[in-house]
Structures are given as structure tokens and as C-alpha cells.
């Protein structure tokens, strides 16, 4: 067992579970604990365990996923730039108001990554300095990567006027 897991277990007893697959160690925080512990857990990983590089923030929608208990998962992929080790912190959130604490105070790089998760899944990040849509137009109302949004959209993509040759 890695040293950082001992540190985490000592600091946040019972707040998370871990799993491993093909060498990727995951630290999983369930939806009821996530708002309270996530930021502290990330801070502990960054400041005490040396995971100083936020590699990615990925949103996942687990609607009807086999064996899933919560709906939205947000995966923070952390890397230790000194040793090269990786750890994946997976926090969950649920409808109707999916909200997680923002990691921007820890990593500036989380800014746009969290905005993208908000844009695509509607997961809000508390404490984010500038939570706006980033990829879709700001008038867009749906969250396109949710599993209940159809691949081809709902007709928004053709909601524009047409210019004919005679009038241009």
C-alpha cells in the first residue's frame, strides 16, 4: 500500500474507498461525503503527498451504468512530477443540484477544466471564480454530454436564418 494512502486514511478516516485497475489507483469519494471532504483531500494530496500536477478533470455521467450508485462522477487525475506516480480522485454528485467544491484555489489549471465539466454536465463547482459556459454558446440550455441528451441534439444546430444568393 502506498504511503500517501496511509496519510489519507489517517486524515480522512472513512471518507473514501480505494480501488485499483491495471496500476491506476483510484480514491473514490461518494456523493454524500464529497462536498465536505473533497477539497481537503485534494489539498492533502497536493501539499503533503507531493501530487503537485493536476493532469485532467474528467466528468462522467453514470446514468444506468451497471452497478453505479451516484450519477455524476468527476475524476481528478493527479500526477507527482518528482516520482511520476499517478492517482485518480473520483468524486460523485447527484441531481437535482450537482455541486462539488472547486479545485481552483489549489491549481490554477483547474479553471478551464472545471468550466468544461460544468458546460458538458451541469456539475457546479462552488468557489469557482468564473463559472460560465466555455465550449457551447452561452444561450444553449442543455448539457450535451449527459446520457439523456441525444447525440444529434434537439435541433439547436440548425436554428439559424438562411441567406439566399439574391439577398446577399
Amino acid at each position: 500500500m502506498a504511503a500517501y494512502l496511509d496519510t489519507l486514511t489517517a486524515r480522512f478516516p472513512g471518507a473514501f474507498t480505494t480501488s485499483e485497475f491495471r496500476g491506476d489507483r483510484r480514491v473514490i469519494v461518494a456523493a454524500d461525503k464529497a462536498p465536505a471532504v473533497l477539497l481537503g483531500l485534494l489539498r492533502c494530496l497536493k501539499e503533503e503527498c507531493g501530487f503537485d500536477f493536476l493532469c485532467d478533470v474528467a466528468g462522467v455521467d453514470y446514468l444506468n451504468y451497471p452497478g453505479a450508485a451516484d450519477r455524476y462522477g468527476v475524476v481528478y487525475a493527479l500526477t507527482n512530477t518528482t516520482t511520476g506516480g499517478r492517482v485518480f480522485v473520483k468524486a460523485f454528485a447527484n441531481d437535482p443540484d450537482p455541486v462539488l467544491p472547486s479545485a481552483v484555489p489549489l491549481w490554477q489549471g483547474a479553471d478551464w477544466l472545471e468550466r468544461e465539466v460544468y458546460d458538458m454536465y451541469g456539475v457546479r463547482f462552488d468557489g469557482h471564480p468564473d463559472l460560465r459556459r466555455i465550449l457551447m454558446p452561452s444561450e444553449f440550455t442543455a448539457y450535451p454530454l449527459r446520457k439523456d441528451y441525444p447525440l444529434r441534439g434537439l435541433g439547436e444546430r440548425h436554428n439559424f436564418p438562411t441567406i439566399t444568393r439574391a439577398e446577399s
Partner: protein
Amino acid sequence: MPLEVLPQIDEAGADQEFLYTLNFGPQHPATHTTLRLILTLDGETIVKAVPDIGYLHSGFEKLGEDLDFNQYVTIVDRMNYISPFANEVSWHHAVEKLIGIELTPRCKYLRTILAELARISDHLLCVGAAALDLGALTAFLYAFNEREKVYNIMESAAGQRFHPSFTRVGGLMNDIGGDVVDQIRNFIRTFPKAHADVVRLLNRNRIFVDRTKGIGVLSKADAINTGCSGPVARASGVVRDLRKDEPYLAYPDLQGAFKVVCATGGDCYSRYLVRMEEMIESLNIIKAAVENLPAGPVNVALNDKLTIPDKTATYRSIEGLIQHFELFMWNRQWEPPVEEVYGATETANGELGFYVVSDGHGRAWRARTRPPSFIHFAVFPMLMEGHQISDVPAILGSLNIIAAELDR
């Protein structure tokens, strides 16, 4: 150049009428593709830059949930479209990690060679276009000439010069012939001269150096804090390269053939130098890999039921036919574990990773990309503050922002 007066400007103040706003893009030649910047200017000095992106967001990740592991490679190709093969390698690296496939030695070497060629062509375009924006047209023409050679190699190998879509789960679409190896050898022979030409055109070019040195300085701490990777981070002194740190494909065998190129300046000129040197290191890798190219099959064994059989096997043998059908029918296909993995490779722009969530079917439940361009562009406002408008193309060019990878 950072002006000493800048910190005194309180841009939220009410008496700031001398500040004005300039809209840069989304259709502007210096942005190459579709980026938009909203610049707040004091004279010619940029006080604040706010990027607005999404002008090329075309739903790659949603398509990744709809197409199977082999089909999605055509979409992944179009992500970083100036080095498509590197993206394919990255995607199938993640998928093979999920399914648990060990590739054949020949396939590993071929993927390595072609991915390094893609890196060279990516750096060529980046350097050429950055120089073009600063007024040095000749370097661009030289760089494009070399890119055409890489295109030709790709075309001979895969049949498409631009988007080869060459990798498959567990191997490649087909093996390459001796003519492609000859072309690659030829490229190894001729490329150093072209590289030296570009170096002679730019390295001591007064205008180019003046416009890039000291411009857009990214410190090492900032590079780590904002998540930069690849040449951008290495030019700031972050010694991190997945080819060394987490060797994949044939890189474990080729560790002696290359070094990690780093710089400490963190400015546009350092990023340019890192890119130029990386091309030479890539060429060394290709050289070593071509000389040690193993013989043998390019796909994993047929009875593993993982890889598409070639056409002869499909038409001539019952096992091949059955396997072909198994892999193409919606309800059969692969049976990956119900798990999630993160697989990353070092592409020309940095760490390109895929976070693949699987629900046990041949299609990903979620195919998240870690796009280096996206993360590098987030740094852009920070680099921009205090510079002149004319530095925008220099910094943009040195970051090598590819809009399709940025917006996906």
C-alpha cells in the same frame, strides 16, 4: 515586454476610459484557426486578455460514446490534425490498456516510427507557421516541403496522406512494405539538411529573435500549477516526458537513442528551440527503430478474438470470417472489463491522454480526452498580460494551439 507601470493600473477602477477593447478573431489569420480573444488595451499594451473558445466544438466526446473502439479512430485523427497518427496511437494505447492487450514487437516499432514522424511534421508546421506570422515566409515553405515527404510516407503506408486512420485494436490496418521503409530511410538521410536550413534561417535571424526572446515567459512553478506538458513545460524547465517517465510501445528498448530536450528560459524562443531540437531527437529514435525493426506479425494472434483479421483470412478461412463478424456486430465485439483506465502518450503538443470508461461493450461509455492544447491555451491570458498586440501571434504560434484539439 512587461512594462513596469502595469501593476499600478487598477483595471476595475471607474476612471479607466483610456482602456479600450479589441476583438481578435474568431476569423483572423494569426489565429490560424478559430480562436477568439477579447483584449483590453492601454494604447498598444495588453492589460487583460480573455479568450473565448468553442468555435470548433463539434462533439468529439459524444461521438466517442456512439462509435466503437475501431471506428472512433477516424474521429480521434481529426483532433490534433497536424499530427494525426500520434492521436491514434494514444487512443488505442488507452483502449489496449483497458482490454489488456500486449502488442507484437513489430507493431510497437511501427507505431513508434510513425508517431515520431508525426511529431516531426507537427513541429515543422508549428515552427513554420510561427515564423510565418512573424514575417519569415521562407521557413514556412521549407517546412511544408518536408511535411510533404511525411505525407508521402503516410500515404504509402496507410493510403491516406492526411488522416491515415492506421491503427486498430491490437495492431495496425496492414503491415508496411519495404518501399515504405526505404522512404523512411530516405527521409532520415535528407531531413537533417532541411532542418539545418530552417535553423540557419531562424536561429540567428535578428527580427525573429527580437520578437520571441523574453516574450511570453512561463515560469516553472506556473507551468506545473497550470498543468502544462510537452514542449511548453519543457521549455520552462519541467523535465517530464512520458517517453522516458512511463515508457510505452517500443520506447523501453530505445531509451538510449534519445534525450529529453529542455530549456530554462520559458519564453517563445525557448519553446522554438525545444521544438527544433526535439525534431533531431525524434529522427534519432526513427533511425534506431528502423534499424532494429523486428520481423513477424503486426497484429496480435487471430485466436485472441481482439483484432480484425486481414481480408485474406476473412475470405479464405471460417475462423477469420467468424471473427470478422464478431467484431463488427453491434451486440458482440470486444468484451472489456467494466472498469475505467487512463492511458496517455507523449504527443508533439504534450501529454495526450484518454480516460476510457467501459460498461463491458465494444463502445466506450465515456471517452474523455486530456487535450494539451486546451490546457496550454488556458495559460495564454497569463502570458499575454503586459505585452504588445504584435506579440499575440508570437505567443500563439509558440504554444501551438490546434483548434480542433482545443474545442473537440
